[in-house]
Amino acid sequence: MSRLTLSTSTGFSRRTFVVLSLAAGVALGALGSAQAAPKTSLSLGMSVEPSGLDPTAAAPVAIGQVTWQNIFEGLTTIDKDGKVQPQLAESWVISPDGLNYTFKLRQGVTFHNGEVFDSAVAKFSIDRARASDSVNPQKRYFASVDSVETPDAATLVVKLKSLTGNFLYWLGWPSSVMVAPKSAADNKTNPIGTGPFKFVSWAKGSQVELAKNPDYWDKAGTAKLEKVTFRFIADAQAQAAALKSGDLDAFPEFAAPELMASFEGDSKLTTVIGNTELKVVAGMNNAKKPFDDKRVRQALMMAVDRQALIDGAWSGFGTAIGSHYTPNDRGFVDLTKTYPYDPEKARKLLAEAGFASGLSFTIKAPQMAYAQRSSQMLQAMFADVGVTLNIETTEFPAKWVADVFKGGNYDMTIVAHAEPMDIDIYARDPYYFNYKNPAFNEVLKKVDATADASEQAKLYGEAQKILAEDVPALYLFVMPKLGVWNKNLKGLWENEPIPSNVLAQVEWSQ
């Protein structure tokens, strides 16, 4: 009996196998012919899933990386060289005193839900961002706005209280995008903008899907892809596997530098090392002993061999910095020589500050690989100058924001600051470094007071020097943008002047 059953089942499975292999053959053939025409869809990977999809409502850069320039657009925009360009504002005139900005708005622009973009919408967006109950992450940039007027549907006049040299630049940020009055409240889950892509769906924990907006206002700028899928994969091994298997077409910000070498020799993929604004900085609590003593901070800076740290923590990918500024920011000055690696001097300076017998404190390090590895490197380097560093791992962003960023309950921490040109954080009060230097604030005030680019660059140079001298935080390195994508994919940004994935001009060459 059992033998009979067995033979029947074998026969059955053999037949199934034949059918299956036939089906597979047909499917493969279909796939082959589909690949002959250039693909029109893109599957792009990101390490971090955004917490919502409204860049005007929360700070995580992942929000802008999905939505900015794809779904949402601003009055101005920032191009791939970091320069301000007109977008929904065609042009503008600045009054001689520098306080009145008159924007000429683009006509014929509609939101994805059909609402028309005009001066009333622009006024709504700016007023919403600067309202007292606004949760805009860059709200302070709107603090200088005195009033917004709409003489006619195509004209917007913004009056400022004080000179704000970077106003047009800030208007280009993800947090300054234009939102439609009717849909603004729901943008977190159903974003509606004026951009070249429309939001389709968001499967939480997995992916966000966008589709081409056929009615885009700029015919020349219409999206070349029909469909874009952002997929969120936190694990670096899984990211690499998805790229190699062709599951993902691109990973603009690959998470593990040590795996970059594994893409070499892959016939499908290309690796592109670009620059970013990601400054890895070990901030210290300047209000707390012993960090209130400048000499301690300077000594710790001299205890750090930046190049060794880059090699050990980030496989040598990265550029050493001496201040809170990256080489692609205007007016950059290389200040890594202000307090270069010198353990002998560091030990002497510590002794001078009264810590000849050593010093012990804790670094609150987020779970990200760069932070953990850099902390371990700092631990070893500090040990050489008699400083004991305890590493306490903390969860980023929620716990870190509560404990360190808002609570100020820490000795030292380490995090990559992603915002471009954010040297002004050292002038903010309160800010988690608790750094207070009126001379520094004075320099930044002067930056705002001038619109002259070369004058601004000079002032930014001064600001960088003050920080390099005072060392409110240990300036370590700028992380590069480790891009990995399909060789046939054209138009992705190599560099990252602002955290983003601008996809309208991305296309397949074959």
Partner: protein, 272 residues
């Protein structure tokens, strides 16, 4: 001695365990390099190219780290099992002496602790008191207690039915005294075997906790964290994963073989 030589499992287990204990103890006084010394110029060197077992991504000597890791892993596990075995045995023999409702209540309580995976309870401890050696020891000890309570209870119950114990009871001897004089000495073998087997499990759990970042904080090398750190370097430097992985496997294998061998050796039924 001849007994031991005739049992290859026991012998192998004994040798492996002794070797590990020796290496762990040796690490306290000597390692080839300082295990926390970073030499970036020598990073990711394969075994024999720099040091005996190569270097990790920071240029630290793998052999030294593994040696210190052995000490950390073994000492944590031994301590945890010692605490768990002591408390568990105490609970087991006490309940065996009292029986009745107490037995039901205590055994159901053990069941509840049993149902919570050790990793989960360790994460809970970690959240409250912070990660560290103490957390790991407590977390492992907590789930060892019911194991030992159960083993001692069933062993002790058998002893309580023996004639000489019943005689002692009928003569009006104190139950605590009977436990100490008659019960405990007769169940030592079972406890010893259980200790050896649980040690292997403890090492595995300790490695798991370190892997998840709930063990000892850096720079203290632990096998679990070495394994976790090696993940993204697997393609480039496979020894970073293979070495600590093998160390964990070897330690668990050795202790399990020792446990099995001991059980065979000490089981009175086998000697008949």
């Amino acid at each position: 001695m001849r007994q031991i030589l005739r049992r290859p499992t026991l012998l192998a287990g004994l040798i492996i365990t002794a070797l590990l204990v020796f290496i762990a103890l040796l690490s306290l006084v000597w390692t080839p390099f300082a295990p926390t010394k970073m030499q970036i110029v020598h990073k990711l060197k394969p075994p024999l190219a720099h040091g005996l077992l190569g270097t990790d991504q920071f240029g630290r000597d793998m052999a030294s780290m593994l040696m210190v890791g052995a000490w950390n892993s073994l000492s944590t596990s031994f301590l945890a099992v010692a605490i768990g075995a002591t408390l568990g045995t105490l609970v087991g023999v006490t309940v065996a002496a009292i029986r009745g409702l107490t037995e039901t209540v205590v055994m159901r309580a053990c069941d509840i602790i049993f149902s919570i995976p050790p990793i989960l309870s360790a994460m809970l401890f970690g959240a409250f008191i912070g990660a560290g050696r103490f957390t790991a020891i407590i977390a492992i000890a907590v789930f060892m207690v019911p194991v030992f309570a159960r083993v001692t209870l069933s062993a002790a119950r058998q002893i309580w039915t023996r004639d000489y114990v019943m005689a002692a009871v009928s003569m009006g001897r104190n139950r605590a005294k009977i436990t100490y004089v008659h019960v405990l000495p007769n169940i030592t073998n079972q406890i010893l075997v259980q200790v050896t087997i649980q040690l292997g499990l403890a090492i595995l759990t300790e490695a798991g906790l370190s892997f998840l970042g709930l063990g000892m904080p850096p720079p203290t090398p632990t096998w679990g964290r070495m394994l976790s750190d090696s993940q993204t370097f697997m393609g480039q430097a496979p020894w970073l994963a293979l070495l600590p992985g093998s160390a964990i496997a070897l330690a668990v294998l050795g202790l399990n073989m020792l446990g099995d061998g001991l059980r065979d050796l000490l089981d009175p039924r086998d000697n008949v």
